[in-house]
């Protein structure tokens, strides 16, 4: 095992555990009393109004409160089970891809394949959720389910599932409504059916968890000790896993995705003083129930009139992100796993020749995608007149995609050097999502902002996200695990902001949805020039900063001792990386994993010197996105798939395979 977990035996002494617990409980009770007192009354004559008020109370408000408690408890329990069985402090329905898998299956099952509409929502959701977890675990199996690998795999599977869902929604032209409310997890109820279906499942889950408690305790030891104590290791692990997936998939099927709760609940449970497995298993469902209840009550209280302020699932993600960042320094005692810097075992003898080969390959790809395309009648190779006629439509999008890919490659490279962390990238660190939050802010401030203002908003959002990440990385001593945890928190926080606006279903949501899906289709001269100029202006200085990039990963002390101003150099690099991220996410959306893949591939190909690695990352990034753009153009012609999706589909599995492959050969 790359890392063994130990029980969180000591908590830093601070608040006694019961203080936060009591505060949370009091807040829940107080807000519910406020809600009962101030919930809006039905207008009209008194008799009808009284009847309707009673209906609202008994068929809407109370079942909603009940379902918040039940769903929260189920997610809390599911998160605690997953974290224990995978020995992974950052496992939950969101990070393992369960929620996105379930959502994809439901989108597919209910919308695209109406034959499946006879099958229950819950079964479809379970199949999707379990499929996602199975893929995640299979991908990280070779690395002994090490938490960081599991989290990366989970994130990639989530990204792919989410972008497939978005594509399906866009392909049906129903961008505005149902899926997004539901995707954002709204708890509105109009009868007790939701409660009736979910409550017995939670009860069954609690009983099963209680039965599995002893084996769970043993599981906290390492595998050989557990086996010597007579635990049928795989059977127990598997049944706990099935239970946890079933619980969270049931919640997803009933009320949609409630972001982050499975991650937050066990953390809050520990904050409230839970120590042993039994205590955490008891406290986590309670904490989950309390947090979801509180969030749901607040969104009702703060909304105008009868309507909610935001979908509750998005609201919990808003609470969850900052909460996790706050908890970060206090979470102790987990496995101290760091991802290894993946230098290839082989070394390129002549990197200059390898680089020119890469450039030549890029040129060939460029020529092919410019000429090859589909028409109503089949494949066509555009030459001569047709070529020059199609060039204005093909060249700008190819340049935009290529430029964005190149910048993502460079930005990922810089982030990995600045944070000293081989898994850092715009997507993992939440910098791409930061751009989304910036775009949302711009949409709110300006209504219909011009592309320049949208770009500015995205750049500011990215920069803010990256600076927060650097601050966190600096404080926690660059531990890969914390950085990842913080990145997921920031990402979830920003995406919560985005999905709140998506759920509004107006023109702003339409712009955001288009951004999320990352289409290069409308790229024209502006986008092409933006991509090319930004690439040259922002990546050229990086080749002059190679000294900083060499020294910074060695640590603050060493950097200072060789006379490097740590703060200004980091800040300059951060600004460059954030700008490149923002501009490329403006061009191809936030979903592509190019920023993670390209620098990895550059190292795995055997480039050692930093300037060679940087150049290779730029070339590979450009190549990947140009290929993805071409595929997005032809796969369901004349309809078009967003390019960001294809980049993630190509890059994600490849990266995971490489991680596993390297481990085996090393």
């Amino acid at each position: 095992m790359p890392g063994t977990a130990s029980l969180p035996l000591h908590m830093p002494t601070g608040l006694p555990g019961f203080v936060p617990a009591a505060a949370l409980g009091t807040a829940c009770v107080a807000s519910f009393i406020l809600l009962l007192t101030f919930s809006p009354q039905v207008p009209g004559d008194t008799a009808t109004a009284a009847t309707l008020d009673a209906i609202l109370l008994w068929n809407s408000l109370l079942p909603r409160a009940a379902i918040a408690l039940i769903a929260g408890a189920a997610l809390g329990l599911s998160g605690a089970l997953l974290q224990r069985v995978l020995r992974n402090p950052i496992a939950d329905a969101s990070t393992l891809g369960i929620a996105s898998g379930a959502q994809l299956a439901l989108t597919l099952g209910l919308g695209v394949l109406p034959l499946l509409s006879g099958v229950s929502r819950e079964l479809i959701a379970f199949a999707g959720g379990f499929g996602a977890v199975a893929i995640v675990l299979a991908l990280s199996w070779r690395r002994g389910l090490d938490p960081v690998t599991v989290a990366i795999s989970g994130m990639i599977v989530s990204l792919i599932a989410a972008s497939l869902s978005v594509t399906l929604i866009l392909a049906r032209g129903e961008y505005a409504m149902s899926i997004h409310i539901w995707g954002a997890g709204a708890l509105n109820q109009q009868d007790w059916n939701g409660v009736i279906s979910l409550a017995p499942r939670l009860a069954a889950g609690i009983v099963a968890a209680a039965l599995l408690l002893r084996p769970l305790n043993v599981l906290a030891l390492d595998d050989s000790s557990a086996r010597s104590l007579g635990v049928a290791l795989h059977a127990v692990r598997f049944s706990i896993l099935v239970l946890a997936v079933w619980l969270s998939a049931s919640v997803t099927a009933t009320v949609g995705i409630i972001g982050f709760l499975g991650l937050a609940a066990p953390a809050i449970a520990r904050l409230c003083g839970a120590r042993t497995t039994g205590q955490v298993m008891t406290a986590a469902p309670l904490a989950g129930a309390a947090v979801l209840f509180l969030a749901d009550t607040l969104t009702q209280l703060l909304g105008p009139g009868f309507s909610d302020l935001v979908p509750t699932g998005a609201a919990t993600a808003l609470l969850g992100g900052p909460l996790l960042l706050l908890l970060l320094p206090r979470v102790h005692g987990f496995s101290s796993v760091t991802a290894r810097a993946d230098t290839s075992s082989r070394l390129l003898r002549k990197p200059a020749i390898a680089l020119s080969l890469l450039a030549a390959a890029l040129a060939i790809i460029l020529a092919l995608v410019l000429m090859l395309g589909l028409t109503d009648t089949g494949w066509s190779v555009a030459l001569g007149l047709l070529f020059s006629e199609l060039l204005p439509f093909r060249l700008p999008r190819i340049l935009a995609a290529g430029g964005a890919g190149a910048m993502l490659g460079a930005a990922g490279f810089v982030m990995q050097r600045v944070t000293g962390n081989p898994i850092a990238s715009p997507e993992v660190l939440g910098v791409s999502s930061g751009a989304g939050a910036g775009l949302t802010a711009a949409l709110f401030l300006f209504g219909f902002p011009s592309p320049a203002i949208m770009l500015l908003g995205m750049a500011l959002g990215s920069l803010a996200a990256f600076l927060v990440m650097i601050a966190i990385a600096g404080r926690s001593g660059f531990s890969a695990e914390r950085l990842l945890l913080a990145g997921i928190a920031i990402s979830a926080f920003c995406m919560a902001i985005v999905s709140m606006v998506l759920a509004q279903g107006d023109m702003r949501s339409y712009i955001l949805l288009n951004w999320m899906s990352g289409s290069t289709n409308r790229a024209g001269a502006f986008e092409a020039w933006t991509a090319m100029i930004a690439l040259v202006v922002l990546s050229a200085p990086l080749f002059l900063m190679i000294r900083w990039l060499t020294i910074l990963p060695l640590g603050t002390g060493l950097s200072r001792s060789v006379g490097l101003g740590v703060l200004p150099s980091r800040l300059a690099l951060a600004i460059l990386a954030a700008l490149m991220t923002a501009i490329s996410s403006f061009l191809v959306g936030p979903l592509s994993l190019t920023g993670l893949i390209a620098p990895h591939l550059a190292r795995l190909l055997g480039f050692r010197r930093l300037q060679h690695q940087l150049a290779a990352a730029i070339l590979i990034g450009a190549g990947v996105l140009i290929m993805a753009d071409w595929l997005s153009r032809i796969v369901i012609y004349p309809y078009q798939v967003p390019v960001g999706l294809f980049a993630a589909l190509i890059g994600g599995p490849y990266l995971l395979w490489l991680l596993g492959y390297k481990e085996r050969t090393a």
Binding site: P40, V42, P43, T48, A49, L52, D53, I55, N59, S60, L110, P114, S117, L170, A171, R172, G173, Y175, A176, M177, S178, I181, W182, A186, N188, Q189, Q190, D191, N193, G305, F306, S307, D308, G373, T375, D376, E389, L390, P392, F393, R394, P396, A503, G505, D506, M507, Y510, L513, N514, S519, N521, R522, G524, A525, F526, Y637, P638, Y639, Q640, P642
Partner: protein
């Protein structure tokens, strides 16, 4: 679903008559080849008998807008948000109509053919008035007298319906579209459906803020806050939503449901132009006069 009235044979016949009229118009001289990205403009162009060669999301259009009929030869350009420019180029249009929603496609499309923009949905302006202006302008441009006729016929029809409905009970009307079993969106006074209500002399039950289209998804429980209203359900609905909703105790307890004041009409494009407005008016007149007589 005994409590919801469906549209009847009379509607079907009038629809068929309208379709037949459209076909006759198309058989006349074809005129310039036109293409569009916007559904409101597409239905306008089809209704006035323009020679449409390419438009977006035709599969979805045939299901949601239903009429006018889209001839089989029209090329599908893919999604409204990301139209396939190469497919548009192969359709060889002489003229492209676009709306403010998809203005970002203008620079690329103007390389293929001249682009003319007509806005129907703009904050703070009446979509009905803008749709009339757009229809007349397009009719002028393509020299289609059918455009002016359509504007005048619809105005006459709305007047006629207004007199017919004036004999009704004057209850406010709540036009909604179900998102899922627990959410709906409501069409306020400045939406196309709201404008039609106003012209029919009906009061919109939704008095809250709107933004020139449907307002954000509302929880279904808010229906209780408008006990006096007639509820008009406008499809398309997700498949399982309607069944789940009508099963619920809450729905059955609503005054509008108990007193048989719910009308389910046929699918209409919520961001439509005059053909959608006319279709909505037909459904309302049919449903409400039926409700009063039966």
């Amino acid at each position: 679903m005994p409590r919801v009235q469906k549209f009847t044979r009379r509607t079907l016949l009038s629809t068929a008559a309208a379709l037949a009229a459209t076909r006759v118009l198309q058989a006349q001289d074809a005129g310039p080849r036109v293409a569009t990205l916007d559904w409101a403009l597409l239905e306008t162009l089809l209704a006035i008998g323009a020679n449409v060669v390419a438009a977006t999301e035709l599969r979805q259009f045939r299901q949601v807008a239903v009429e006018p009929d889209v001839p089989a030869g029209v090329a599908d350009l893919g999604l409204r948000g990301s139209p396939n420019f190469e497919a548009l180029r192969f359709a060889r249009p002489d003229l492209i109509f676009n709306s403010n929603f998809y203005a970002s496609a203008d620079p690329l499309m103007s390389r293929i053919a001249p682009v003319e923009t007509h806005a129907i949905y703009r904050p703070g302006e009446s979509p009905y008035v803008l749709a009339e202006q757009a229809t007349l302008a397009i009719g002028e441009r393509l020299q289609r007298p059918a455009a002016r006729r359509m504007v005048e016929d619809l105005a006459d029809k709305l007047d006629r319906y207004r007199n017919l409905l004036a004999k009704g009970d004057g209850r406010p009307v709540l036009p909604i579209n179900l998102g899922d079993a627990r959410h709906y969106r409501v069409f306020g006074s400045d939406s196309m459906f709201g404008e039609v209500l106003k012209r029919l002399g009906l009061v919109n039950a939704w008095t809250g803020a709107t933004s020139y289209s449907a307002v954000a998804p509302m929880g279904i429980e808010t229906l209780a806050s408008m006990p006096e209203a007639r509820i008009v359900l406008i499809p398309p609905h997700p498949m399982d939503a309607f069944g789940a909703l009508t099963e619920s105790a809450f729905w059955k307890a609503l005054p509008a449901v108990r007193e048989n004041r719910v009308l389910m009409v046929g699918s209409i494009n919520p961001y439509g132009a005059l053909p959608a407005a006319g279709r909505f008016a037909d459904f309302l007149a049919e449903g409400f006069s039926h409700a009063r007589n039966g």
